[in-house]
Symmetry: C2
Subunit: 202 residues, 2 copies
């Protein structure tokens, strides 16, 4: 989208400046590669603008995406751009002080805890960019109510951009989002027996 020319001028009563600062909800879905990598690529732009960034990883294992995590942590600590908070469900979420003796909650409960924190941060306008990585899964599985998510996103205050990744993003979310990209797999090396590779897959 190098030119950045809108297809038409909308009759929404907004100035160009207002339209340039409209908070967006972006969805990266589909079966192809690049959903999360594009979201983290977007985080580089947000970082360069000096924005506070919150990453919430809704995945069980913290093994993957360690490259992006390390890179964004180094950037966030560099003092040259925005800040980066990285929250991982797979490690029980950073803000939860869980008693050591307590049993581990199941993934559904953990995913809900994550969403509750996102809601609190949106209300407090903690970040300017939220990367809700793999958040489409708990929505697809019915762990978190899509209607509630859309309602919370619709009512969020200020200028907070939200990127949601994951296969099978529910129709209600896709309808609501400002931008939806479907990463379509044309060919993937794993189809031909290629193993996941360091530096490429994580």
């Amino acid at each position: 989208m190098p030119q950045g020319k809108p297809g038409r001028v909308p009759e929404d009563g907004l100035t160009t400046r207002q339209r340039r600062n409209r908070p967006l909800v972006l969805v990266h879905t589909g079966t192809g590669k690049g959903k999360s990598t594009a979201a983290f690529g977007l985080a580089l732009r947000a970082w360069n603008q000096g924005w506070p960034i919150g990453v919430f990883q809704f995945v069980k294992s913290a093994k993957w995406k360690v490259g992006e995590e390390n890179a964004l942590r180094v950037l966030g600590a560099s003092g040259e751009g925005g800040t980066v908070d990285w929250h991982k469900m797979g490690e029980g979420w950073s803000w939860i002080q869980r008693p050591a003796a307590a049993g581990e909650p199941d993934n559904e409960s953990r995913a809900r805890e994550g969403w509750e924190q996102v809601k609190r941060d949106l209300a407090a306008e903690t970040y300017k960019l939220y990367v809700l990585d793999e958040f489409a899964y708990p929505l697809h599985w019915g762990w978190i109510d899509v209607a509630e998510v859309v309602s919370v996103l619709r009512e969020r205050p200020g200028t907070q951009h939200v990127v949601i990744t994951g296969r099978n993003a529910p129709a209600e979310l896709r309808e609501f989002a400002d931008l939806v990209t479907d990463m379509t797999k044309v060919r993937h090396p794993m189809d031909a027996g290629q193993k996941g590779q360091r530096g490429i897959e994580w």
Copy 2:
């Protein structure tokens, strides 16, 4: 692709370790957002592995992707991961010492100069990851011969991964690539008159 399970075990005589280190050519094409952002997201993984990274931007204007560029420059200079060289066609390529009095070459010549340098770097194994950003365009326009590119990529020595982005990636390149992802536009805010936004589009 969190599990990293291949669909089948190939009869290529390679060990798992060899298959884990096979040099890949990846193509991000299609009309949707995320082609370049996913390529730069991939560069974060490469950086985290300590790989030398070469970015070649085959675009006229250096205005866009400044966020990714600044972020990768900071990462490359951090001393914590790999190095990053960032070459821009829009600024006449960094390696060319052009006489100040000379006329500026046209974009076709510049694109060819860029490809000639990529060839030299591939032969010298300068990088472990090459991001050939928007390289699909000069191929699509016939400025650079696709058959030659495929031949050079096929014969490249060592373990050098190459990511090529841009709409309209030629069929011959798509056929050759190990991974092809088509970023499909489902909905884009510019369709509704949304202006390009700082931190989102660049």
